[in-house]
């Protein structure tokens, strides 16, 4: 004490110098303790007068976990020790010191002691607590005096003992004759068995106000009781292990009797499922970790009256269905958060690698250069890029050339899919791109090897005239797809034509073969055709007729008009179109250009028409080919009665020097089968293979990136996630974003513009985001098949908390943990179904000690509030008799620890 008084004097000296001029309080009379009290009082008065709202402007900060709680602090000094005084307050004034609002997130002290706003005074030391109990009570009484001086009703707390115990003592002036005292502590191991059970806990509470143990059994106390139990499902990612264990338990339970039947069903379902995403569309390529680790079920028993320990003992066996409120809290895997540092494998991760490969391809001339040892560039490239063994290569090629799954018809695809210039899902090139994402972890050398072998395979199909796998031949080329796909489409058509040619040369009986050939040459249907004419017409010269045209007679000979077989219009890939347009733009006389090719087609049609109708004149052809240029005279009545019908060519057709008539005059009668074909399949096929074999690496990689993005999103889009609206719009948006962001790649301007690559890399971030959300949606959907509302709500909550942080990287984990979703009564069975009976192996690990089992699971966390209320007549406010909470005990714990907090109100 002597030493401390010395310090006091020193302190006074310092204080005098600083504050003498501002205050005229007589410090010489006050002890340092009294000065400390008045300092506390001053701070308290200042905070009281400022009011919560204004405190915000004076530097109060919001607490991260509790949305509506703020704190402001002030530092004090006493006996060479620094103290920190913190005032916690809420902004909204609605409601009283809400006793136990289960939904809200409460501060530990609010929850423990049933207070609303409060003050904490703690030393600023390493431990942050007061280890010495006389010091603690001295500090607390200082606060109590200061508060009663300024008539503050705030409860004040002082942390005591060991920091790990989170123990507090506290006091609150209630404004009347009453004072509330607080005390809380924690047992972190070796919890007495008695205190593991409700009965024991009840007796602990009662012992705080009952005078003797005999009293306990004879007197009935009306104790208010509230309970919150938290259960946790087994982690989902341990499914593998669970499946094995369950099969063992199966044997046991089979002998066990009838009451286990229900559980057996659950087990059987579980056993067959080795990976949770086995039937998800992406599982062909990778396995995603289940984004939902487990669920917590929170069951709340609202306040009820308990009068004896017997009743409490019964509570322990009460069914969880008796709890009034149920909430479910999902626990998500850490990879869902943006700041997840580990490697996450999915389409997005591989697409990023493919973009790296694209960056490397810019400098190289041929795909072969990546494979051959001398030219493969830096050592770094060679060492880091591993080429998978031949067995893997064989397997991939086999899968590529396997005609297994059907190509999805255009109607089945996402409507925005074709906006991304790639190949449609399940077609040959799309499948190649998806494989290369995973082949050798998508390094450029592995891609080169795969491509070369793939093209070698394609050449084999061409040489052998075998239909290309995964390539439907519908004789058109979809120009909205990427060039490689167009080339493959065209190659498939060339192979088809080559096969037809080979077929006709095999059986060379002339008339039949010609007909067969003609038929195949004309898949384009005409509305005017009326069945095929099988027999040769009386007119010996006629050839290449596809049938009589309904109600059309030739003008001159008054015989039936025959529609001819015509040649298919030539098919072209986009580079051929471009080449042609370019040539036309450069060479063509822009004033009177008509494409030579189109003229050839017209001429071919005319020749075929002439051959099919030897007696036809130009007007007949126009009537068939361009009916609007034949003007019939309306006045002459039905044309059938009168022959020839009154009519004439339109003005524009009949002008002298009309180019159509010129072509007509120059076209010899020749059936389509004998004309020079527009397209030579042998030549075109070879040209395509030449393109594929010599394609510049960066051109190939650009197309691969587009196609891989498209195929990846198309694959994800097939996921069944129960049609969550939010997810659907996310996918729609991603399609459009991909389409517009990938467009620069199609324009072939990548060389020299590395910014484009950066943009596309950013696209991977967005892609990953959607991929994660989709995995979550799929996982939730299958877990809550019978309760779609729950999956929808959980998903939306997650999405809402996740979205605003996108890209910023920082996610407040606390905020996410607090996603509680109320479970409706009709949804309870779905939730209890998720608590699979633990197998014998699993349950021995944990000694069940708490009761209130749910399918063999004991609560992981139990919170209880006991309260005793009493009518007290306070002599000061005479006739008014009011009920106050005299005793309140908050108990929370697991099977290993127990935390007890007691508040007692008493009259001093």
């Amino acid at each position: 004490m002597a030493s401390s008084s010395k310090k006091k004097h020193e302190e006074e000296d310092v204080g005098e110098e600083e504050e003498e001029f501002e205050h005229f309080d007589d410090f010489t009379l006050a002890s340092s303790w009294e000065r400390f009290i008045s300092e506390i009082e001053a701070v308290c008065r200042r905070w009281l007068s400022t009011g919560p709202k204004n405190l915000l402007e004076k530097g109060a900060v919001q607490l991260g976990e509790q949305k509506n709680l703020y704190k402001i602090k002030s530092e004090l000094k006493y006996a060479m020790k620094n103290y920190c005084m913190e005032y916690y307050f809420e902004i909204s004034n609605s409601g009283k010191a809400a006793d136990w609002n289960w939904n809200a997130t409460l501060h530990e002290l609010q929850l423990s002691f049933g207070v609303k706003e409060f003050m904490v005074i703690a030393p600023q030391s390493a431990s942050g607590v007061i280890l010495d109990s006389p010091e603690a009570s001295k500090l607390l009484s200082a606060v109590a005096i200061a508060f009663s001086n300024c008539s503050s009703l705030w409860p004040a707390f002082v942390p005591v003992h060991d920091p790990s115990r989170k123990a507090y003592i506290g006091i609150q002036n209630m404004g009347t004759v009453f004072t509330r005292r607080f005390e809380g502590d924690l047992i972190s191991s070796q919890v007495p068995v008695k205190l593991m059970h409700l009965e024991g806990l009840y007796e602990l509470f009662v012992s705080k106000f009952a005078f003797s143990s005999s009293d306990l059994s004879t007197h009935l106390f009306k104790v208010h009781f509230t309970m919150k139990l938290t259960y946790k499902t087994l982690p989902y990612d341990e499914d593998n292990e669970a499946a094995v264990l369950n099969s063992e338990s199966d044997i046991i339970t089979d002998n066990g009797g009838d009451n286990n039947n229900n559980n057996n069903n659950n087990i059987n379902i579980n056993r067959n499922k080795l990976q949770w995403d086995d039937d998800c569309p992406w599982s062909e390529w990778y396995t995603a970790e289940d984004p939902v680790k487990c669920f917590e079920l929170v069951a709340i028993w609202e306040e009820k009256m308990v009068e004896s320990s017997m009743e409490m003992a019964e509570m322990e066996n009460a069914s969880i269905h008796e709890a009034q409120k149920w909430f479910i809290v999902p626990e998500f895997s850490s990879y869902l958060t943006d700041d997840y540092s580990g490697k996450l494998v999915g389409f997005a991760s591989q697409l990023r690698l493919l973009i790296d490969a694209l960056a490397m391809s810019l400098e190289v001339k041929f795909m072969e250069d990546f494979v051959s040892a001398e030219t493969s560039g830096s050592d770094k490239l060679r060492s880091s890029a591993v080429i998978p063994p031949p067995t893997v290569l064989d397997r991939v090629l086999k899968d590529l050339c396997h005609d297994g799954s059907e190509v999805i018809p255009p109607e089945g695809r996402h409507r925005s899919s074709r906006l991304i210039k790639g190949a449609p899902l399940e077609t040959l090139f799309a499948q190649f791109c998806l494989h290369s994402l995973w082949f050798g972890d998508c390094n450029i050398r592995a891609i080169a090897v795969l491509w070369i072998e793939f093209i070698r395979e394609v050449r084999w199909y061409w040489e052998e005239s075998q239909p290309l796998p995964r390539m439907p031949t519908n004789s058109t080329i979809d120009l909205s797809t990427c060039l490689v796909n167009q080339k493959l489409q065209m190659l498939a058509i060339c192979i088809e034509k080559k096969r037809q040619q080979d077929g006709t040369s095999d059986n060379s009986s002339d008339t039949h073969s010609v007909e067969a050939n003609e038929e195949s040459l004309n898949p384009s249907s005409r509305g005017k055709e009326e069945g095929l004419v099988k027999e040769r017409d009386s007119t010996s010269k006629r050839s290449g007729s596809a049938g009589v045209v309904k109600s059309m007679m030739l003008l001159k000979s008054h015989t039936n008009m025959h529609a001819p077989f015509t040649q298919d219009p030539p098919i072209m890939t986009e580079d051929m179109h471009e080449e042609r347009l370019h040539a036309v733009e450069v060479l063509g006389d822009s004033f009177s250009f008509s494409g030579q090719l189109e003229k050839d087609i017209l001429s071919s049609d005319m020749s075929a028409f002439k051959a099919a109708n030897p007696d036809a004149i130009f007007e007949d052809f126009i009537r068939w080919h361009s009916p609007k240029d034949w003007e019939e005279e309306e006045s002459c009545g039905p044309s059938k009665d009168k022959w020839p019908p009154e009519g004439r060519l339109s003005d524009r057709m009949s002008e002298s020097g009309n180019s159509w008539r010129k072509i007509w005059n120059d076209s010899p009668p020749l059936p389509a089968s004998q004309q020079k074909p527009f397209m030579d399949p042998n030549r075109e096929g070879e040209k395509i293979l030449h393109y594929l074999e010599t394609v510049r690496p960066h051109q190939l990689l650009e197309q691969m990136v587009c196609t891989a993005f498209r195929a990846a999103i198309d694959t994800l889009n097939q996921t069944n996630f129960g049609g969550l609206d939010n997810m659907t719009t996310k996918i729609d948006q991603l399609y459009l974003t991909l389409a517009s962001s990938l467009r620069p790649l199609q324009a072939n301007k990548l060389l020299g513009d590395t910014e484009i690559l950066q943009d596309i890399k950013r696209l991977c971030v967005i892609f990953q985001h959607v991929e994660k959300l989709l995995t979550l949606a799929a996982s939730l959907h299958r877990k809550f098949l019978q309760a779609p509302r729950l999956s929808q709500t959980i998903f939306n909550d997650f999405r809402n908390s996740y979205l605003p942080k996108m890209g910023k990287g920082l996610v407040n984990k606390e905020e996410k943990k607090n996603q509680q979703v109320r479970v409706g009564v009709n949804e309870r069975d779905v939730v209890t179904g998720m608590f699979v009976q633990p197998s014998a192996n699993q349950s021995w690990r944990r000694v069940l000690s708490m009761g209130n089992l749910l399918n063999g699971h004991e609560p992981v966390f139990r919170e209880i509030v006991f309260a005793l209320r009493d009518r007290v007549d306070s002599s000061y406010h005479a006739p008014n008799e009011r009920e106050i909470e005299t005793h309140r005990m908050y108990i929370c714990g697991t099977s290993n620890d127990l935390r007890v907090a007691l508040s007692v109100t008493s009259c001093d």
Binding site: G595, H625, D629, K749, G752
Partner: protein, 208 residues
Amino acid sequence: MGSSSGQYDLSFKILLIGDSGVGKSSLLVSFISDSVEDLAPTIGVDFKIKQFTVGGKRLKLTIWDTAGQERFRTLTSSYYRGAQGIILVYDVTRRETFTNLLEIWAKEIDLYSTNQDCVKMLVGNKVDKDTERFVSREEGIDLAKELKCLFLECSARTRENVHQCFEELALKIMEVPSLLEEGSTVVKRNILKQKPEKQVGPTQGCCS
């Protein structure tokens, strides 16, 4: 016409479609050459280039004129590719040319157009033959709303509204950012093509 090639800020591709004989080629010739004449039916596809200034920008329009005959339809489908503007033409004196727009031509656009943002314009031609009119202006406006098109009535013969038609379309295209970018990249690409060797250099440096 196109003698001053290269002297333009933006280049757009426009496509004319519609039934045979509605006056697509006439419309185009009327716009290009200020002449009015009967034209032979288009064989397959034809095109014209027109440069003019609108909204302070020098534009080069490459206008592709397609044949309306059914036989040419598969052939012309490839010309939809990359078009920033599509003009659907009908003849106000022939109702079926109007109804075919919805039944045939709008579907062709959905099927073949590769540009989701491309601007469409509905044009009713031959309004000079007002006495023979079978399609009212109101009907035209309604269809334009349905197809989300611009709308104009014009006459290739009297040259009424012909210039407005192409100008308005060009202005509308310039309002769409993605199309505007496409229009200007054509120029950019030509610059790049001239010196590809230089572009390779820096990328090599950062990759090795």
